[in-house]
Amino acid sequence: MAKKSSSEPSQHTGGVDLPELEKILEFMQKHGLEEFEYERSGLRIRLKKPSSGPPAGYRAFPAPEMVVAMPAAPPAPAPAVAPGPAPVRESVPESARAEDLHIVKSPIVGTFYASASPGAEAFVGIGTKVESGQPLCIIEAMKLMNEIESDVAGEIVRIFVENGQPVEYGESLFGIRTYRKK
């Protein structure tokens, strides 16, 4: 989500002129950089590409986010600071969509666990064939362990999360290739 402040004076870009920023962007592209941070006498620039994992799939605007931090500036000039939030996580990564998989998403907020208890064998892995209603993982919320069941029959081909990872509502957990109906 880049705030391209065209030819506005330095008030909006915090004392950095646009050609300079463009040079940095070029530099990043050329060297395939995801993130670039630069500090100089009280001015800090941070450019970050919204990382989405596998490069497959189109993005019309791969523009990096721009965060310009002013030293101890009062919050008054609102447009000057473009806030850099954690990018809202995409619900389904591009490559998975292309394959037309059934995605099992998290129905709750919590922590993802691949197995029933630490050290135990994972419920499923890539290649595991599952039935509808079969437990796939545990999501812990408020100290309660919730078993998440598959809503389709098929084969696990993608696992989008790692053991111990916090997940939000609607987060993609598994990609299942359902059996084709004959």
Binding site: P75, P85, A86, V88, V109, G110, M142, P166, E168, Y169
Partner: protein, 262 residues
């Protein structure tokens, strides 16, 4: 001071709270329903967690989801904003049990104020001047008749668990009383889950002055602002920063202010 706060709300109040957090160098966590994925409050926060489908009851009002989000984001406190869970005593208790500070009154204080008849009683006991009315919930039609006579018509029947200007009925004479009493109880039951009503003398053409008092856990309090509020049944809580009209007797304003800090 808190290190990180989750704001259990959205829209302008979430933005206001996050603004304040920025000034205080507190990290912010937004929660959102799927419908609000691209909302401003989501983008303004340091972190954002999706907590449910579009319906409020499944997301912003879903206590387990909100608490779970607070846990995985490892926040120190939750700010409920206004509306939603801000006056939910149960939510305040769940926060306490989860060792997350609820930025607001204690569960007991919320409960007390939520039950209007008990709130009246408590204020009366604290020595605040209150509108003449029933000593508590009016249990039946006979009591209703007797109490209404004592107070003197016109009176107002109000739902004990009501709020926001709803669940109220004006009664101007004894002929209307029973019918109004029954309707009010039925409406209260439907809207608030409890048929309990109490009565107050109706003040016609009042001058409604709201005094905002801010207090913290050290029992320090101060008055924020006196606002002239419109006195219609459909009053909604939008901007309260209106100064009293210059025609409002200063004496009345000062007296209201003094009472409210007791």
């Amino acid at each position: 001071m808190f290190r990180k706060i989750l704001i259990a709300n959205r829209g302008e109040i979430a933005l206001r709270i996050m603004s304040a957090c920025r000034e205080l160098d507190i990290k912010t966590v937004a929660v959102y329903s799927e419908a609000d994925r691209n909302s401003l409050h989501v983008r303004f926060a340091d972190e954002a967690i999706c907590i449910g489908p579009p319906r409020s009851s499944d997301s912003y009002l879903n206590i387990p989801q909100v608490i779970s989000a607070a846990e995985i984001a490892d926040v120190d406190a939750i700010h409920p904003g206004y509306g939603f869970l801000s006056e939910n005593a149960n939510f305040a208790e769940v926060c306490e049990a989860s060792h997350i500070t609820f930025i607001g009154p204690t569960p007991d204080a919320i409960r007390l104020m939520g039950e209007k008849d008990k709130a009246r009683e408590a204020m009366g006991e604290a020595g605040l001047p209150i509108i003449p009315g029933s000593p508590g919930v009016v249990p039946d039609e006979d009591s209703a008749k007797r109490i209404a006579e004592e107070i003197g018509y016109p009176i107002m029947i109000k739902a004990a668990e009501g709020g926001g200007g709803r669940g109220m009925r004006i009664v101007r004479n004894s002929r209307e009383l029973i019918a109004m009493f029954q309707t009010a109880r039925a409406e209260a039951q439907g809207a608030f889950g409890s048929p309990n009503v109490y009565m107050e003398k109706l003040i016609e053409n009042p001058r409604h002055i709201e005094v905002q008092v801010l207090g913290d856990s050290t029992a320090t309090s101060c008055i924020l602002a006196n606002a002239n509020a419109p006195s219609s049944a459909a009053t909604k809580r939008f901007s309260r920063n209106r100064p009293p009209l210059s025609s409002t007797p200063l004496r009345a304003t000062k007296s209201a202010s003094r009472s409210s800090t007791r």
